[in-house]
């Protein structure tokens, strides 16, 4: 009854599994599209080299015991126990492994946290449930649309990029697997880090901190392009932003928020005349408001409404504005829900 052939089969299976597991793990790890990411990949391999003998050693001794020390007769097993000396050895072995491992980890950490003078500075805003990338030096932004299209961060190859990470609502996490890096976007904090993409291509990114209903759809792309293509893209984006214009059609504006976006990208009112804004929020359980600024840098605020939780609507009265090119947005979602506000 007691002797089945199972342990022997188990030996082979376990050995095979161990070998293939190691291969799989090193083979599947991403190697990184930035020097920082490549450093982390190197650390991954170093820990693998330290961990593999521990794994193989323990499993081998375990399997050896199972095969060799199966009960075969009724003689009692030796009743010896280990003394203080063996206990010291038991403590020493893992201590030595840690003593080797820890400095490698710290060295990598220092390398990836080294600050470089950034050529591109991007303020990254996370909100439920998309991203906005504000190019601070270029004065433009790109936004994604929840459930419709992810935001695309275009970057020039080989230039250090500084990310200033913020959140408009709950905690999110900016995660690009090919950078082997993520950092939490925390409301009330700005977190800064730099990296240098050195490989052309489009790489997927995604929120990594659970942030509510559509967390799984909070994706974005990082598109690394040649410097000339980057300049061309900047120019094109600027043109697109400036090209938005519209004419006043009376003093009553009507605006609908649906699926976390406005139904209009451009609003216009006559100069020096009071006007009213009708806001309808069709998003159940989601807050929106309506504010007018000088630009998306929000240096000067001309008008702001209280937050409206959908479904609901409200009519707001606004004071006259001098002629000019303004900017409106929902403060809950930022530039992702914004447009041009023209006073003529």
């Amino acid at each position: 009854m007691g002797s089945s052939p199972l342990p022997v089969t188990r030996t082979r299976i376990a050995r095979l599994a161990a070998a293939s597991a190691l291969l799989l793990l090193t083979g599947c790890a991403k190697e990184g599209i930035s020097p920082q990411g490549q450093e982390v990949h190197r650390l991954f391999v170093i820990i693998m080299i330290l961990a593999a003998p521990v794994f193989l050693g323990v499993e081998a001794v375990l399997i050896w015991c199972i095969v060799r020390y199966r009960k075969r007769d009724d003689d009692p097993a030796p009743q010896t126990v280990g003394g203080s000396r063996s206990l010291v050895v038991f403590f020493a072995i893992p201590a030595v492994i840690i003593a080797v491992l820890f400095p490698f980890g710290e060295a990598t950490l220092m390398n990836i946290e080294r600050r470089e003078t950034p050529q591109v500075q991007i303020k990254v805003e996370g909100f439920q449930w998309e991203w906005t990338f504000l190019y601070l030096n270029e004065g433009l932004f790109v936004a994604g649309k929840t459930l419709v299209r992810p935001a695309v961060m275009v970057l020039p190859v080989d230039e250090p990029v500084q990310i200033q990470l913020v959140s408009r609502d709950v905690i999110h996490s900016f995660f690009v697997p090919d950078l082997l890096f993520k950092r939490d976007a925390i409301p009330g904090r700005t977190t800064t880090f730099t990296f240098t993409p050195t490989k052309l291509g489009t790489f997927h990114g995604q929120c990594a901190e659970f942030c509510g209903l559509w967390h799984s759809r909070m994706t974005f792309d990082v598109k690394v392009v040649a410097p000339l293509d980057y300049q061309a893209w900047i120019k094109q984006q600027r043109k697109k932003a400036q090209g938005i214009t519209c004419e006043p059609q009376g003093t009553t504006l009507s605006l609908i928020a649906h699926n976390i976006s406005w139904n209009q990208f451009c609003l216009a009112v006559p100069a020096n005349t009071p006007f009213t804004v009708d806001i309808t929020n069709q998003d159940v359980g989601i807050q929106h408001n309506f504010s007018i600024y000088d630009s998306f840098f929000e240096k000067k605020k001309y008008f702001t409404s209280p937050r409206i939780t959908g479904p609901d609507s409200e009519t707001l009265n606004a004071n006259p504005l001098p002629p000019g090119h303004y900017y409106f947005q929902c403060d809950v979602h930022g530039p992702a829900m914004s447009g041009a506000f023209i006073v003529k």
């Binding site: 450093e39 820990i47 015991c65 020390y69 126990v81 820890f102 980890g105 995660f175 950092r183």
Partner: protein, 545 residues
């Protein structure tokens, strides 16, 4: 002597009907069984939730359940498995076996013992009742981070209320265990003769009374934020979102050790019994348990490396230091097997499986302990793999070892060995098929807690494999439940000591009488039952320790 009086207590309730006996019992053995029945019921619920999630993730695109339902399921799955399954199973085994292993009549405070049990099903059902509330159950993960936890509906309030009850239950239980172990030991049962399982429960209880009140306070603060207008955690009103994470993980990391110290005790004892050897270094085990208990309070922020707001080197080195006492345990386990006479009974299979799998869960934690590496794998499926290798491959295999080991003592009946072997192999294979691929998914950048994924990410195949594994686990557990239910219909035939074991619970009948012991053997070592067996066999060799 108390022994002669005790039976009268059980004679009176008998006419009151069986249900009432179970509802009003203060007998630690009955309460222990109540714990197990309650926990395995919630285990079934949490397991079905896991199967639903795995089925949804088998292919990209939404098939079975929507995003909101998925978010509710992983939240309640984690909450139930941690607070109402793993911890209470260990507490239940502790309830049944700590008094027996130390030669006591009962727990120190039998009525508080009953109270701390009955709070559990109430707390668990309160959490589950969220599914009936407007807006559904809490959908914020078992960690329920701020300020998302301020945003969601009534389900979060029910989640908070349930956890406050469960937390109170475990604090009461921990006090009871500590007093029982310190004050109720039989003559001769010195601290350094305590069975290792009792040490595991003692260390767990110390963790509970130091860490759980902090968590309970945090839960009450969050409730006040949500319903009484305070703003501890809400940055929109001047609170600090990261404060929640600090409070949560100050408890949450010791919690991991609350979930495994008891299982380490079970496995260490079983390895010793079924290899016919004393524990290779009893002192090493006790020292490791105590070191881990102390160190576990210094590592909480390793869950927060990616916030960029914690001291990275400090929390990295303390985390890596924990692998030293944990490494010692592995040496002791292997040293116990070395030159033994191994009997591959079902409890032993699970104990050996525990070593093989917990090793992986320990090692893959080392990557996450290094902050630079953690930036890559934090909140990915790597972490899901890691935590399941620790809590399922580790603790749950240890719990199953304990269930097969102690079932004859609790019920007077031996579980089927054949079904037990099927259970073990299916669970062992199914577990690895489910959770090993998650390491690779994590390295390929699949975040945890996502209801869906795009087909172009290269995650589809491994998710399918993982789902198949989950169903293998489900089949193995059905075999276990079938084994238990069919065995319970058989006549009581288990001997007092079916395994040739070492500790005091095997010195009394199976199941034990209400007063536990008709007579206690002399206790001259940590293995009184072994000593008695050797003395009976003849004066050839003596006990150890």
């Amino acid at each position: 002597m108390a022994v002669t009086q005790a039976p009268t207590r059980e004679l009176t309730p008998e006419p009151r009907g069986r249900l009432l006996v179970w509802l009003t019992t203060t007998d630690h053995k009955k309460i222990g069984i109540l714990y197990l029945v309650n926990s395995f019921s919630f285990f079934t619920v949490g397991g079905i939730f896991a199967l639903l999630m795995r089925t949804e993730l088998a292919r990209p695109g939404q098939q079975l359940i929507g995003a909101h339902a998925y978010n509710e399921l992983f939240t309640i799955h984690g909450t139930l498995m941690i607070f109402l399954v793993i911890f209470p199973i260990l507490a239940g085994l502790g309830n049944y076996f700590v008094p027996l292993q130390i030669g006591a009549l009962d727990m120190a405070f039998p009525r508080i013992n009953a109270l701390s049990f009955w709070l559990l099903p109430v707390g668990g059902l309160t959490i589950l009742s969220g599914f009936l509330a407007k807006g559904g159950a809490a959908a914020c993960g078992w960690t329920c981070y701020a300020p998302l936890n301020e945003q969601l509906g009534t389900g979060v309030d029910l989640w908070l209320a349930g956890l406050i009850l469960v937390g109170t239950a475990s604090i009461l239980g921990a006090i009871n265990f500590i007093v029982t172990i310190l004050r109720m030991r039989a003559p001769g049962m010195t601290m350094m003769r305590l069975p290792v399982f009792v040490w595991g429960i003692l260390a767990t209880s110390l963790l509970v009374i130091l860490a759980t009140p902090v968590f309970t306070a945090g839960l009450i603060m969050l409730f006040a934020d949500r319903r009484l207008g305070t703003s501890f955690f809400d940055p929109a009103h001047g609170g600090v979102a990261l404060l929640w994470q600090n409070v949560f993980w100050f408890f949450g990391h010791p919690e991991v050790y609350m979930l495994i110290l008891g299982a380490w005790g079970v496995v260490t004892e079983i390895l010793s019994v079924f290899s016919g050897r004393p524990i290779f270094s009893y002192r090493g085990v006790v020292l490791s348990f105590l070191m881990i208990t102390a160190l576990s309070f210094t590592v909480w922020a390793h869950h927060m490396f990616a916030t960029g707001a914690v001291e990275l080197p400090f929390f990295s080195i303390t985390t890596e230091l924990i692998s030293i006492p944990t490494g010692v345990l592995f040496f002791v386990w292997l040293g116990t097997l070395w030159k033994g006479k191994l009997r591959f009974e079902v409890p032993m299979l699970f104990a050996l499986g525990f070593i093989a799998l917990f090793l992986i869960g320990g090692i893959d934690g080392v990557w996450a302990a290094s902050p630079a590496m953690d930036f890559a794998i934090h909140d990915t499926y790597w972490v899901v793999a890691h935590l399941h290798y620790v809590l399922f491959g580790g603790t749950l295999f240890g719990i199953m070892a304990g269930m097969y080991y102690w079932f004859p003592k609790m019920s007077g009946r031996m579980l089927s060995r054949k079904l037990g072997q099927w259970h073990f192999w299916l669970q062992f294979i199914g577990f690895n098929v489910t959770f090993f691929p998650m390491h690779i998914l994590g390295l390929r950048g699949m975040p945890r807690r996502i209801a869906d994924y795009a087909p172009d990410r290269g995650w589809s195949f491994l998710n399918l494999v993982s789902t198949i594994g989950a169903f293998l686990i489900a089949i193995s557990l059905l075999i276990f439940f079938a084994n238990v239910l069919t065995t319970l219909r058989k006549p009581r035939s288990a001997p007092a000591d079916p395994w040739r074991a070492n500790t005091l619970e095997w010195a009394t009948s199976s199941p034990p009488p209400p007063h536990n012991f008709d007579a206690l053997p002399a206790i001259h070592s940590g293995r009184p039952v072994y000593d008695a067996r050797v003395a009976e066999a003849g004066p050839t060799d003596r006990g150890s320790r």
